[in-house]
Each structure stands twice: as C-alpha cells, then as structure tokens.
Symmetry: C2
Subunit: 400 residues, 2 copies
C-alpha cells in the first residue's frame, strides 16, 4: 500500500522509534527517575504566563468567528504587522506585514519555501551536522541535499568547501543558527563571507540562490551572545521561524516565514508561498495561536533555566573528561565520542540508563547529541552516571 | 524564482483572488450591507460556548508543557481514544486510538494519505462537481486526477461511468458527502454499490484501491437525513475529518484521519501516514486544539442556524424561478444557471451585488455555488436582488 517514496522513510524511522521504545522499557524496569533521557528536543520549560493569559483574554474578548475563523491564507494582517514591527525594533530591519507569512511552525515553513522554489533535481546545500529532516523536506520536492562536511574544530560552517559545492543547479542553502545539534551561533564574519560567496556564485552562474535560515532557537542565546539577523548579509534570504522554543509552544505549530522585499521577485515568491501553504493542506497557521503570538510578540520562556542546565551539564561533562564545544545557544551539546563508533558509545551510555542521539543521525558520526531541555534535577542526577561511563573509557577530568 | 510546478497554481489563483477583490471593491462603493457575498465557505456561526470554556479550563488545569508540548506525532493518545469512542457510540463502529491520526484539518489529512500511498502517475478518481483543491492535492504527489462527470439530475455519483473509469492505475477514489458544492448526501444504496464496484475492481486488477471520504460536513445534515459511515461499505476506506464546520473552527486546523483495521496493511499505512504528517512539516496537529476537541467530542455549533438559512434561501430562489436540488447537508446550494455560460450569470448577479462562484470552478459548468454560511439577514436582504436577476432572465416562480 505504501508509496515507493515513503518506503525508505518508514524503514529509517524504526531506528528512532527503537530509541523511544528503549527509553520506555528502561523507565518501566528502573523507574523514570533513574533513566536519563537526553534524546528529545521537547522544551521542559513551560510557556510564559503571558501565553495562557493571552489565550483566555482572546477567547473572552475577541469574536469567536474571527478568532477561530479563516483569514487570509498568509495569516491575520494585524498579527503579521506586529511581528514585522517586533523584528524591526529588535534587529533594525524594515519589514512590513507583506513580508511575513504565518506557518504551521518552522518545519512547515521550510516545506513551504522549498515547494515554492524547487524544481526536479535542484540542489540544496546544507552543513553537517544538520537536522536529519532537512533531507526529507528536500526530497518531498524532488530536490537533492548536498551536505558540506563538518568542521569539527569549531562547528562553524566550512565556507571553503561550501564554495566548491555550489553549482549551477544549486537553488537553496539551509543554515540553522543557533545550531541543532551543536549549539554554535554563526558569527557576523561567517555570515558576511557566506553572503559574499552566494553573491559571487549567483553572478558566476547567472542563477538565484535562496539562503534559508532555520531559526527556531534564535532567542536561546547565552552569555550575551548575539544572533545576527541573516537578511542583513544577503539579498535572497528567507527566514523560517517558530515559537516552539522561544515561547515553549512546540505542539501548537506556530511560526512564520520572512520573505524580504530584497528577495528577487519577492511579491511573486510571497504569493506562491501562500498558495503552497494552502495546497499542502495547512491552509493557514492555527488562528488562535496567531492571535496569541501577537499579544506575546516580545515575550520568551525562561531561557535562564536552559542556561543553568547548560552550565551544570557542561561542567559535569568536562569534569568527567568528555570533549565538547561549549554551546552558545539552543539547548543541545554535541559531545565527542570517546571511541570512533559513537553508536557503541551510545550503547555504553544506555548501560548507565543515559539516552543520547548518535551524531550519524546528523551526518556527523563520532559525536553524540545531548538535549538539555530537561529538568535541572535530571542533569544533576545523571552526572554520576556520565562519570561512570567516562571511567569505563579511562577518561580524565578536563579543565573548564 | 518560482518552481515549474507552482507556476500554474499561481496563474490559476488570480481568478479566485479577483473575486475577493471584487467583493471588497463593491463593499467600498455600496457599503458592506448592500453586497451579498455568497462566495466563501467560512462559517458565520460561532463555535459552541463549550469550546471557549474548554480552552480556558485546559490552560488553567492541565500542565503547560503537556498542553503546548510535543506528543506522539499521531496525536495525544487520550484524545485519539476519545474520538474513537465517540465514533463508535454514534456510528456503531469499532475503532480504537490506533485508527485515529490527528491532522492539521481535513485538507492536511487528504495530503497525508495521498502522500502515503501515491506513486508517480497513479490515478485518483473523483466525481464532478468537486472541491477544486483535490486536483492540487493529487498533483502534489504526481498523481493524476480522473473526474467522473456529474449526474446533474440528482448530483449523486454516476456509478456506471465511475466503474468504466477505474483502471489498474487507480490507487484512490475521493468522495465528499455531504457534498461541497451540491449539499447532496450519498445514500446507503449508493455507498453499497460504490463499495461493491471497488471490491470487484480490486479483484479484477489485483490492486488495492483506497476510498478516501472527505467529511468536513458530516454533522451538517438537515431534515433528519442520515450520513452513512463510509467504512461500513468498503474495507479500504480512509476518513478525512475536520472540526472546521462542526465546531466552527476552520482557522484552527484541527481534524483527523481514520485508518481502520480492515484496511490492507493497516498498521503499516498508519505508521507511514504519521511519518508523512511529520515530514510534510505539520509534525503534529495543534496540541491545545487536540485537547479541546477531546472535551467537545460530542458538541456541534448551532446547525439549526444553517437550516434556517437553507430554508429561507431555497424558498426564495425557487420563488424567483431558479432551479436547484434541495441540499440535504453542508451549507451550499448548487443552482442551475439560467444561461449556458454560468460565468455570464455570475456577472449578472454581480450587477445586483451578489457574489457566487461559477460551477466551472468545481468542474461542473452551467451551475453556480451559493454558500449560505452567512447571516440570516444577508439572505433576507439579498432575495429581492436575486428576484431582479431572475426577472432579467424572464424566469417564473417555481413551486416549492
């Protein structure tokens, strides 16, 4: 019954499912409090109080047929304008509602823009390690994902290699900063050079290349780190944003695309993206949540909680002897496996009831991803277990 | 910038947009109260009080990280079980949560099941008149929509012709009952015969053919008309449901697929559909709305309001002299154009500030669709205008 295109996805999926099942199995045997599940990116910090307040006020104050009704497929105009103004205040941009397309989260936004621009066999470039779904999103529209290998020193993008990979069939580039799974933030210098390369390549090949910036972690940045706004560095940039992490609303599926005026054929692309959003079945982003984010446009969940987790876990892992680039943002650490095959390392962790994701799931073997969007207490309780794993490999504590 | 596949959609779209713009233009000149817009299927009846009550109770009573968080991509287990039990109570079915996949409305549900099963050039059969987006949904997965012409006497499906159109490349059939745009409900006899034909064809060709029943109007049935539950008539049936109309939540994008145990490879199809839901970017249906429909699983919006509209409009149109099959369900009437080219009839209506949709948008020229999900007062005020249009064609009043 299953289509040929879906079959590999079904087969692939079972590995990830197996991990979930393993977590459940361990919890059933040893008790949930004795299993340290760091495998998921599901925020454990609740939405800010303002979100639930806004929800109740909206359903009491605004008319039902509007709050729950159809609107323009691009989203409510007032919501889109409020988002544009918030971005302008915070990042010095000059957006207006005509640049903002409300989407069913960033994942849907990525699909919308890829459907809008990709032709058969078009190439989409991204940088390892990357969120594994990018490959599925690109294949949804018969594109080909081209992966630039990781620079495992810094986990900043390898721009020399990137430049070599771009061809006349390159239609898009996907970046993700702050990054899942490394927590690295792309610096202004990196984005400047990235923009220069793309401008050169567009000129050289006489093509248009869209830089798609997947930014669900934008507000999760620590130690005062800045997350530069990507549209400033290159004209053909599209932003995919989600409130999943900033407002802890991952289940609500609410986000937006920014399609700036500077983009080639901007209005035409915007209109086509609205149609793509419709015909793929989303039709529009969930209406009540659109009105909620308008009222909470400058709010965030308690990001300091993630920062406390980050510091505790990073210190603990270093003291145990694990190597890792200290994350500047998001809520992941990408830790070097003490043995070449990180899947074996994952197995060793599992013996201590620690669940982490192998880096090969992000096209970067030899590393594992640890999600620290969990309770502070889970991290605290897990550290002796990490220590025992480290001792099993004969690791010695590292300086902070 | 736009992909080749999107270009025809962009060009097509401008006709529909033009109608919206025309409505706005007329309203600006003559005042909104003097423009009779019957073009949209956007419910004007508010959601039942229970919906807003449930929303506030949920955000006050249930933990935020659960209400707004990720769950299984198929949806919350308790929500799916509540829906299964509600269906079982109302229709004597035997569903369980493993048959229910929460989706971003029925449009997304249709996309999910089509992506799950369609291979390149697979044929999907539907009956004119049909919702124009079906063609786009099928083309999203490189399928071919095969349209059985309308039986304009009854607007029940022409099953003789249907039987002839099915080939060894037929992978799916889409039906929509109660029907948009005709308001017709498929009878038990029709569904029985439809099921028999599909069973015969599966046997003859050695294939699997999925009957997809698009049912956003299931609860909108009048004069005690029954809407038979389609899974009873054929083993390979998938239901696409939406709460858009039954709870007046079209903007919230909440619905579900039913994938029964009787479906061939049922579990495999279910798992693949969950993955399709994820990789197309929806990830899961909006979480708060999932919890809302669980608490409102047996509620409906004020369907009598639509019934009052139906009776007033039907009587008014008949008295003016227009021909129309009296709708049994949904909130549309499909009225015969008094001249062969119904687009000219639409123009004549527009001169009286009446906006209706040409039947050619539903692959059924010679008719127009009138949406009566508008205020009772709009219908009342519009009747003299309809009367003047009828007089322009020399029509005489018909008996009820």
């Amino acid at each position: 019954m299953i289509s040929e295109k879906m079959k590999p996805l079904v087969n692939n999926n079972s590995a990830i499912r197996a991990m979930f099942e393993e977590g459940k199995r361990l919890a059933a045997i040893y008790g949930a409090e004795n299993v340290y599940d760091f495998s998921l990116g599901n925020p454990n910090v609740p939405a800010p109080e303002a979100v639930n307040e806004a929800i109740c006020r909206i359903v009491n104050e605004e008319p039902s047929v509007m709050v729950h009704g159809y609107m323009s497929n691009a989203g409510f105009e007032d919501v889109r304008e409020a988002i544009a103004q918030s971005l302008n205040r915070r990042f010095g941009t000059k957006f207006h509602q005509g640049n903002i397309l409300m989407t069913v989260g960033a994942a849907s936004g990525l699909n919308v823009i890829l459907k809008t621009i990709l032709n058969l066999q078009d190439q989409v470039v991204t940088f390892a390690p990357y969120f594994v779904e990018y490959g599925n999103y690109v294949r949804n529209y018969d594109g080909i994902l081209e992966v630039v290998p990781a620079d495992t020193e810094t986990f900043q993008p390898d721009l020399e290699e990137f430049s070599r990979r771009i061809t006349d069939r390159t239609k898009a580039v996907i970046i993700n900063t702050p990054n899942n799974p490394t927590g690295v933030i792309y610096s202004e210098a990196v984005l400047t050079r990235l923009g220069e390369i793309l401008t050169e390549k567009e000129k050289k090949f006489g093509t248009q290349i869209v830089l798609i910036s997947d930014e669900p972690y934008r507000e999760l940045a620590y130690d005062g780190a800045e997350v530069p706004y990507v549209t400033k560095f290159y004209h053909n940039t599209v932003i995919c944003y989600s409130y999943s992490k900033s407002l802890s609303l991952p289940g609500e599926r609410i986000g937006y695309l920014v399609i700036p005026d500077e983009l080639t054929d901007s209005k035409e692309v915007f209109n086509a993206a609205v149609i793509a959003n419709r015909v793929m079945g989303a039709v529009n982003a969930p209406s009540l949540m659109q009105r909620v984010v308008m009222r909470c446009v400058d709010e965030t969940a308690d990001i300091e909680a993630y920062d406390r987790n980050r510091n505790l876990l990073y210190r603990g892992l270093r003291e145990a002897g694990f190597e890792c680039v200290k994350p500047q943002g998001a809520f992941y650490m990408f830790v070097k496996s003490p043995e070449p095959d990180e899947k074996k390392f994952c197995e060793a962790c599992k013996k201590e009831h620690i669940l982490v994701v192998p880096g090969s799931s992000f096209a970067c073997p030899g590393y594992v991803r640890i999600s620290y969007c969990v309770s502070f207490d889970q991290i605290r309780r897990s550290l002796p277990a990490f220590k025992r794993v480290a001792e099993g490999y004969g690791l010695k504590g590292l300086e902070d």
